[in-house]
Symmetry: C2
Subunit: 330 residues, 2 copies
DNA sequence: CTGGGTTGGGAAAACGTTTTCCTAAGGTCC
DNA sequence: GGACCTTAGGAAAACGTTTTCCCAACCCAG
């Protein structure tokens, strides 16, 4: 009644309910030993005043702020989004908030963000990178809080979560083999990406296992234009299937196939990587693609981070399985 | 020295520097009246202990947490990301952290998130929606903190930031007119989107101003497939220019133009909307498009929110200008 | 009745800051 | 050399919680 400007505090509730603040706290948290009637009276007052405990004050006491930081290096790009979504969903169930910070590969900004986050007493940190190989900042070593690397690799005894690029590539290639394809090419991105190398390994492994010779491998930029160009190069001796390093390349390939008068999938079957909806559905024909399950990756990271905050100390690099999504291009 | 597990507190600094905690606080904040030598001694100790003030404790005192919430309704989709980026960049300069919350149009989740954020004592809230018209939740009325709607419309005396769809459409259409086009069609999205209606208005206004008759308007889904289909319908009497409601539609249109043996831009000039890099660069030819400057929109929202936290009370719906990005399709 | 065990609830310390006094020491002026 | 200002820095309250005692009151048995 006094101030309707200020949020009600536990003191207001105590006064209104005619008890001490300790009693209110016990009623709120279900601790201590209180008569049921007292609990009820307090809770009624709580609702009447629309009281919401100040988590900051609680944090001061418990030493846990109930928030974590996410430092992204790709300006919240296409890959960070689903990760964030999974992470946030899982953590919010535990009442943990996620501070988003974008460092854009600028070590100075990264450090500034880290300082701010630490000052805000975050309980944990998630670091995501973009896809090219890059060492994580040195600064991040020896932090007083748990750190998880998602879609990026931490150091020695760090905990990292990544998609199983090799397994995904194998999945795609095996799928093509099952459909009776025997001359399977691979058109992919720049080979300074670790993911590119891993996917190539997976593709090769599946072929070897099926006693098939590897088709040609073409490296180039991650673009549709490169897909078109690479496919044009293959037109003199066209393969009967192509596994592409991502969906954009695959879509470029599909365009060249169609414009060369060939049929996909009849003449050439095609599999992409990323399962990026806007690409796979707009592709003609709709593209079979490998889904990295990034939302699940983020969710798993969230679960692990929550566990680490409670004291667990998992380490190692974990690669989560990819899934093949079958569409008309195969 | 005592606990190397626990973060050092202001008490540790005070003890090490041989002063009181009040003095440390004054040295840290440059307040009070202290001898320069004392200030220096304290600051040296601060650095030696790697002391970082606990912002939570400070917040308890100041009543400001230095964090705001962002509730998104599109699972951190394509439009939310640049907004977030701009918002976060501006606010982080003021030391304000951004909690990300994804509600995905589920009012129950939205309410739960709001409760969590309020419990964490956020100083302000940003609400973004996806693009179809939707009333903001009722729950958000009468909050004790400033609220800004970005890429979505708040109520009566709320503060909202939106791109100037009408102006952007006018920009695009005027550009086509300047290039001597006279029969300008409009292929766009579902007309239950306010943005679709506004863009159509802008297109029509530019034509009227130039004394040109409006070409046909075709409404359909936001997809390349619709762009292809719509363009096919126009092939009997092709216009000499098309302004599309988004880049995906434009790209579909470009494909049909090319496949019909016509030339873009020679026979038909083409402008898209969104300036979505992956679409405009992969399009053949690269697509002229209207950029909504969402990063700037987010940044402006950040500036305003920071001002509101300091007491400003701006209201109204603000539409920020779009920019035309010229490429080879015109 | 008295004494011991329960039980309900209050008082107060603690968390890590900021800020408002307040006091002691030193300097200045006559 | 005393009265008065400065000035430097300390003590303590305050922010809103949780939690650890601790004390009253009640119950029941002897």
């Amino acid at each position: 009644m006094a101030d309707d400007r200020r949020n009600p505090t536990i003191h207001d509730v105590a006064r209104a309910a005619g008890v001490s603040i300790g009693t209110v706290s016990k009623a709120l948290n279900g601790t201590g030993s209180l008569a049921q009637s007292t609990r009820d009276r307090v809770m009624t007052t709580v609702r009447a005043l629309n009281f919401r405990p100040n988590l900051l004050a609680k944090s001061l006491h418990t030493g846990l702020s109930g928030s974590v930081g996410l430092i992204s290096n790709d300006s919240f790009g296409r890959f960070t989004m689903p990760i964030m979504e999974g992470l946030e969903r899982v953590l919010s169930e535990d009442g943990i908030g996620v501070f988003m910070a974008n460092a854009t590969d600028d070590p100075e900004r990264e450090l500034a963000h880290l300082e701010q986050l630490l000052a805000k007493q975050i309980d944990g940190l998630v670091v995501t990178s973009r896809r090219a190989d890059r060492r994580p900042s040195i600064e991040i070593q020896g932090l007083p809080i748990p750190v998880i690397y998602v879609f990026s690799q931490g150091g020695e005894d760090a905990l990292s979560f990544l998609p199983d690029d090799e397994g995904g590539a194998r999945l795609a290639t095996e799928h093509l083999i099952q459909q009776g394809r025997t001359r399977i090419a691979h058109i992919t991105g720049p080979d300074n990406f670790e993911a590119v190398r891993l996917r190539e390994i997976g593709w090769r492994a599946a072929l070897t296992q099926a006693n098939l010779p590897p088709g040609p491998v073409l490296h180039g930029p991650w673009s549709e234009a490169w897909g078109r160009e690479a496919m044009a190069r293959l037109l003199t001796h066209p393969p009967d299937a192509i596994f592409c390093g991502n969906d954009q390349i695959a879509r470029g390939v599909a365009d060249t196939i169609r414009e060369a008068g060939l049929k996909c999938p009849e003449d050439i079957a095609l599999v992409g990587f990323d399962n990026w909806d806007v690409m796979v559905t707009a592709c003609r024909p709709p593209l079979t693609s490998v889904d990295m399950n990034l939302t699940a990756l983020g969710a798993e990271a969230g679960r692990q981070l929550a566990a680490m905050i409670k004291g667990a100390k998992p380490t190692g690099t974990h690669r989560l399985p990819c899934t093949l999504i079958h569409r008309e291009s195969t």
